[in-house]
Amino acid sequence: MQAPPMKRLLDVLREECGLTGTKEGCGEGECGACTVLLDGMPVNSCLIPFAQAQGSVVTTIEGLEGRHPLQDAFVVEGGAQCGICTPGMILAAAAIPRGATLDEIRLGLAGNICRCTGYTSIYRAIEKARSRRHR
């Protein structure tokens, strides 16, 4: 992958790779819409220069291929309304350890703003995805 080193990872993903599932909500690290996983850790791709991501594994929403249990659970429980926060929210949720308490889930999602849902249905979706995984 070649791109200018200082270009934001967000722009590299959207413009160079054509992966538009990663969204921009603020461009200043506050909303979490641009969340991707960098070697499994959630980061705001609007704050990361491409150079910093080089040599790492970047997971975007497209990388989950629709098969992650959270994706179906978000649909069923109403965790996605307008959907603009959803890719980032699902990736942030995917990085939360399985046994996390509700307070730990809250903390894990504190950097991801959703203006539509009031978060409650997102917690329900996370619960649902876990119970499915246990089965």
Partner: protein
Amino acid sequence: MGATEKSRAVGRNVPRKEGLDKVTGAAKYVDDLTFPGMLHGRTIRSTIAAGEIENIHLGFARKGFTIADCRDVPGRNVVALIELDQPCLAERRVRHFAEPILLLAHEDRERLLEAESLVAIDYREETPIYDPEKSDHCFKEIRIEKGDLARGFAEADVVVEGEYRVGLQEQLYIEPNGVIAVPENGGITVYGSLQCPYYVHRALRVLLGLSDDKVRVVQTETGGGFGGKEEYPSMIAGHAAILAWKSRRPVKLVYDRVEDMVATTKRHPGVIRHSTGVTRDGTLTAIKIDVLLDGGAYMTLSPVVLSRGVIHATGPYRCDHVRIQGRVVATNTPPNGAFRGFGAPQTQFAAEVHMERIAETLGIDSVRLREKNAFRPGDTTSTGQKLGRDTSALRVLREAVSRSDFRAKRRAYRGTNRGIGLALFFHGSGFTGGGEVKLASKASLELTETGARILVASTEIGQGTRTMHAQIVADTLGIPYDAVEVAAADTARVPDSGPTVASRTCMVVGKILERCAQEMRRELGGRSAQDYLAERGSLVVTKEYSGPDGLYWDDETYRGDAYGAFGWGCDVIEVERDPETWQIRPTRVTAVCEIGKAIHPVLARGQIEGGTAQAVGYALLEEVAMRDGRMANAQLTNYLVPTTLDTPEIDVTILENPYEHGPFGAKGVGEMPIDGPAPAIVNAIRSLGVDVRSIPATPERILEAPSLSASR
């Protein structure tokens, strides 16, 4: 048929139509689209609040740039809405900070931003007006008169007065405003993040001087609206269209967060004054209310916001003698506009905090006071509307009180750092007064080989329009939900179903679709779709709004049936204060809403939870700091909206009391949940002994407020 037949989709949580696309990243929002040869656009805005433009210095080499100002407008230089008072690009005069003056477009975004920084504009400044009380320009004045106010006050034992203030609020959809304008077929096509395709369509026709068929507006997947993409897209679409018209190339205009916050509409701030006559036992005998809203520099939708505001200003309480006077005035701030609730959250905040103060003054239980005065079926509202059997004020109140264990908690929390408060509210569904009749919305249903396709201009902006419409159509036709498709909201394909606003998409447009489906079913007469199409070729049924018989409204006197139906809600909110900082943390919300019929319980609950969270922000966090007519905190770092850590647990109960003219009994649900939480939170703070009467109730404001014993 319809409601009488056993429903298979309605009332069930069928999968959301575009759900999979939204969770996989496949859904295309406007910024995800590109067109060959596309330019990027940027808007140069005024840096003063009032004055005249004297000179514009570009300061950069023009090659490769498309530059447009008001002289490049092919038609009329206005944003066509209620009044044609707002220029699309300023001519000489500037009336607010961030008013659009000049447009730039270039292939390369970096070059564009660089050029923007080199533009300098000289002004002759004038003295701006920021205080609505000092404004000399009133956009709209409304007076509602019921009974005989003097008589009502004569019957009172006590008169309780109060002044309440509400601040600006930013919609803060996570996807900023954005459009792409594409010159094609001798006209313009605009793709965009928007709520009302036909509003934009009309605005572009006027601006470009084009005929109907030369303008096409297509909604792209929209990352939240909340009213913020009701009227504003007409402006940004106009700008992109002017640039596209001039350059003959597609132009993308997508705002960044700062621009979106600085320049676009917000919820109207206001001052609401109450004077209420009441007997010792708590019967309301006279209500006098004065509403003043700050409209900002241009009219936008202010008269309609005021209208909904004054009609809801009494709260859901009966009283024989009422006078409400409302005004919305001009100031030199960016225009305010539509935001979920549309005037009702402002006035019901005042009404419900005032109700609490009446109880405090009389020394009676505030739940009893509300029970005594709450609307019952057969009561009349301030406009003289007689309420029907679907009036559920008492039911939601009692349910919320018992479900939250309100009384026991109120006793238990006394003298601690915990507080509990309550608010009772109502919300009219659909356009106000004669609005729906004037709109004359249309919806169409097209028979397909495998089922039916919905053709409406109603937009999906997160609330589940496509899903809920498809449920109504599936059950009315008696076909599976999956057999119903929904066409894109594209003015070249769908009829004008009116705007996606005012909690009307389910109740009003859904009803028209139900009627389309009923007729289609009759027409099919038991034949399969394939047989019918083989025989007849095609079938499209189009219906127009037709209101229930006997609805009456007089716009001159403001008398009559303001809305087809009202939803009813009650919130109980528990809070905790930090004893040192007076930071208030809401811990639990009990929300009870009566919405007629929940077509899709998960979607309906989502509206209530989401609206509640927005209102928690309105009550406590969301302060728009205006300095010299501009938003000084136009960033997410310092304009705080509720995160997971600020949003309390929300316990939702949905009650159903069917509205006979709604599809399957449904009323509106989108806006109502934002009416209650702010007064419930402030009443909870009052239970901690502080006389707060304005929002947002930030720690500074709470610390400044007198203690309750002192102010009584």
